[in-house]
Structure formats: structure tokens, C-alpha cells
Symmetry: C2
Subunit: 138 residues, 2 copies
């Protein structure tokens, strides 16, 4: 077992470990600033499509299908590199983006932080970069 | 439903959504460089302990207990801020660290990337910052 674990952790063979639902979590970050833009899932087909096309492609659990980020908004992700963690059950994907990545209109999904000294209050730290009504026609 | 969704997405009340196992994923990043150091889980008690102590505290699924990062290695995490995503089911935690955060000896867990043009080969991009044998006595 130790040898196998070492191989996963120390080896240079990419063996992504998908969970029982066939998914692996992906932390997508801005290639320039390292800002975390979003966290989503890929299945094997989404990872394959991402590697083949160079465009961030995920698996949508709610819609149960592959989802090319930006297919609706036009705000696509150009993949710069994909990193894998020690036990190969999580990815970090560095991307260049042409527009806001969060459907609420922010550059990334993490536009609020927990207020200092509080456990239940947030404060806004992001800046809206697009109007979801215009982009998604909601 | 729209009002509720708007409240979660646009509101300033922190209502972290734990999954069926009572966990929320946490992306821990270096507060200075934004480098993703690790991805782990918190349950409600781990989040509460983190907010109260200012030290990154997680829930270990394999050991089924709270785990203060660095309790064994000494490489603790001083929390700078905690961000939450649009639907409040994922956290980004910015931390200052005193030492390598990955048990394999690297600064972070994402020390390998998928080789350009390959789908199964990795290349090492991280640099070892400590010897796990010395730190964990393995």
C-alpha cells in the first residue's frame, strides 16, 4: 500500500481519482493573479474535453451534462495549466478569462468575506463586472 | 425560490451550506501570493473553531475528528480572511503559514502539473521545503 501511495504522490503519471459519482473537484484560478474564480466538478469526459479543446469544460450536476464554461455568457476560459494535488483527487486549473466568471455578475464567485469578529455577517469585497440580466437574459 | 436564492447570493448573512455529510469544502490559499495550498473539508464545529481561534481547523474524514492544521508538523495556518461563494457551499480561506502545508513536503499540495500536450503525464513544478520523515517521524 505504501508503494502505491508513494506512486500517486510522488510519481509523474496522471491518475485522477474520481469520486463515487465519477467527479473530481476543480478549483479554477486566474492565471495572472491566482484569484480563485470558481469551484466546480469535472467527470472523465469533461476533463478529456478540457485537455483536448483548451477550454474549461465541467460536468453540471444539476443539468447532468457537460458544460463548456461561457457557452451561454461568452465568458470562456482558456486553460493555461492544470495542477493536481498529492493524492490526485483534486485539480487546480489556471485560466485566462475574457469576462466575469460568476453568474451573479462578479469576476469570481468569492465576492464576499466573513466580517472580522463575526460568525454570521458577510461583507462585499467584489466588484460587479457585468449585468447578469443582459448576459443571461434573466 | 428566486427570493431565497437572491438572498443567499446577494445577501450579507453568512449561511454556509453543509452537504449531506455535514461538510463544506475549503480552498486554502496563501494570503500573500494567492497560491492554492490545499483543499480540505470543514464541518460546522471545525468552522466555528477556525473562526474562534483564527487557526485553520478542518474535519478529517479518515480520522473522523477535528484537525488543527499543523498540530503535528507545527506548520499552522493563521487565518487572514474567509470568503464564501455565490451559493454559499464552498469557502476560500486566506492564510499565513509558517511552513510547508503538504504532508509530502511541499509548500502546497499542487506541486505537479499536467504536461503540455499530454493527458497522462505530469511534471514537477513545486520545490520541497521540508523533509516529511523529519517532521512526521515517518
Amino acid at each position: 500500500m505504501a508503494a502505491k501511495s508513494n506512486n500517486i504522490e510522488e510519481g509523474l503519471t496522471f491518475k485522477p481519482k474520481f469520486d463515487q459519482q465519477g467527479l473530481i473537484p476543480v478549483v479554477t484560478v486566474d492565471a495572472d493573479s491566482n484569484e480563485v474564480l470558481m469551484v466546480a466538478n469535472m467527470n472523465a469526459a469533461a476533463l478529456e474535453a478540457t485537455l483536448a479543446s483548451g477550454k474549461g469544460t465541467y460536468f453540471s450536476r444539476s443539468r447532468a451534462k457537460l458544460w463548456v464554461k461561457g457557452e451561454q455568457s461568452g465568458h470562456e476560459q482558456k486553460v493555461v495549466e492544470i495542477m493536481v494535488d498529492c493524492d490526485q483527487d483534486c485539480l487546480v486549473m489556471k485560466v485566462k478569462v475574457s469576462g466575469g466568471q460568476c453568474h451573479v455578475g462578479y469576476r469570481g464567485c468569492f465576492y464576499r468575506r466573513v466580517k472580522k469578529g463575526s460568525s454570521d455577517q458577510l461583507e462585499l469585497v467584489g466588484r460587479r463586472v457585468f449585468d447578469p440580466k443582459e448576459v443571461y437574459g434573466k
